[in-house]
């Protein structure tokens, strides 16, 4: 039920397409209704906002219900982010229809010009809002590179970052044979705080397993993908056992994971955070 996997979900696609139509219809009639002194139209806008909040709930509930069936769960933070996007899309549809309806009302006599202006404006609005909504990606916050996996005793490392304790020698060998490691290095203090969020790290692992596949079944805890912090540097070390062992694809996939809105941190926006950043030197 990922928003990027929608073509494979015709039912879900249809649901949201029609909810979008409803949103657009409400937006389109808002101005005409108000101009003809039908102020109760405002009530319908409020009703619509409630309706859209329900869409968020609907997406959240459905994704949360699927969590148990996922080999690598999305995590609550990612689900909340996805649900918000679904809600926001309806506002885009409504706002665009509002604009189109408004322009057509302003130029009633010269219908052709009004039509063109409305159309161009609507197109520009959709592009602008989509751009604003598309958000940042891990690649904007950090540099990603592949890292060799190795064991020190039972402890698995990706580069210098310790990941987990693997008890069985056969499992260690399997991880070395099939696993891929990566290091995500945040570019500044803000990025470091964001990547440290367990929700963001879980989102990365989920996306990786969705894109590269995951060589793991439900009863194989040893092959759980893992992302852990290096407290000295803020780097995130990561291991995954993908179906296809392609290091370039791994790095590319990590860089393209969206940064979740609700876990974004900006400590340097606060005076104390800036002081900490200056004192650290390293983050300049």
């Amino acid at each position: 039920m990922d928003y990027r996997q929608y073509p494979s979900y015709p039912q879900g696609y249809l649901t949201h397409l029609f909810l979008g139509f409803i949103a657009a219809a409400i937006g389109a009639v808002a101005f005409p209704a108000l101009l003809s002194r039908h102020y109760e139209a405002v009530t319908f806008l409020v009703l619509a906002a409630t309706q859209f909040r329900d869409i968020r709930t609907l997406e959240r509930d459905s994704l949360l219900a699927l969590e148990e069936t996922e080999l690598v769960p999305r995590g609550a933070a990612y689900i909340e982010g996805i649900a918000k996007v679904f809600e926001a899309r309806n506002y885009v549809a409504m706002f665009t229809a509002l604009w189109t309806g408004g322009v057509l009302l302003l130029f009633p006599g010269r219908l052709r010009w009004g039509f063109l202006l409305a159309l161009a404006g609507a197109g520009a609005l959709v592009l602008l809002l989509e751009r604003l909504m598309s958000g940042r990606r891990v690649g904007d916050y950090a540099t990603v590179r592949k890292a060799p996996l190795h064991f020190a005793g039972p402890f698995l490392y990706a580069g210098e970052v310790q990941l987990m304790n693997v008890g069985r020698p056969e499992a260690r060998q399997a991880i070395l044979d099939y696993g891929l490691g990566a290091i995500i290095t945040p570019v500044d203090l803000n990025a470091r705080a964001t990547l440290a969020s367990p929700g963001q790290r879980q989102a990365i692992l989920h996306d990786l397993s969705a894109i590269l596949g995951i060589r793991r079944d439900v009863d194989e805890a040893e092959f759980t993908p893992m992302a852990r912090l290096n407290h000295e540097t803020g780097e995130v070390g990561l291991v995954i056992l993908p179906v296809k062992r392609d290091e370039a694809a791994l790095v590319e996939a990590i860089a393209r994971v969206p940064v979740i809105e609700s876990v974004k941190r900006k400590p340097t926006a606060a005076a104390a955070g800036r002081r900490a950043s200056d004192a650290g030197g390293e983050w300049g």
Binding site: N165, R168, P169, E170, D219, A221, T224
Partner: protein
């Protein structure tokens, strides 16, 4: 709320290293210890961690 990080069982070849009221499996060799740990791990869906070369822990995360 589910309890996470719970110790389910211990597999060991050295009974002097483990006491307590959790299941303790005393294996005859390190090979047997590893094989038992695999079976227990798959059946309980728990992770096998190494405490030292003679003691394996099964932890449900």
């Amino acid at each position: 709320m589910d309890i996470e990080g719970q110790l389910l069982a211990v597999v060991t070849v050295n009974e002097r290293k483990v006491i307590g009221d959790i299941p303790i499996f005393l294996a005859g060799s390190e090979e047997e210890m590893n094989r038992w740990a695999l079976i227990l791990s798959r059946t309980t869906r728990a992770m096998v961690h190494e405490l030292d070369s003679e003691v394996l822990l099964l932890v449900k995360h």
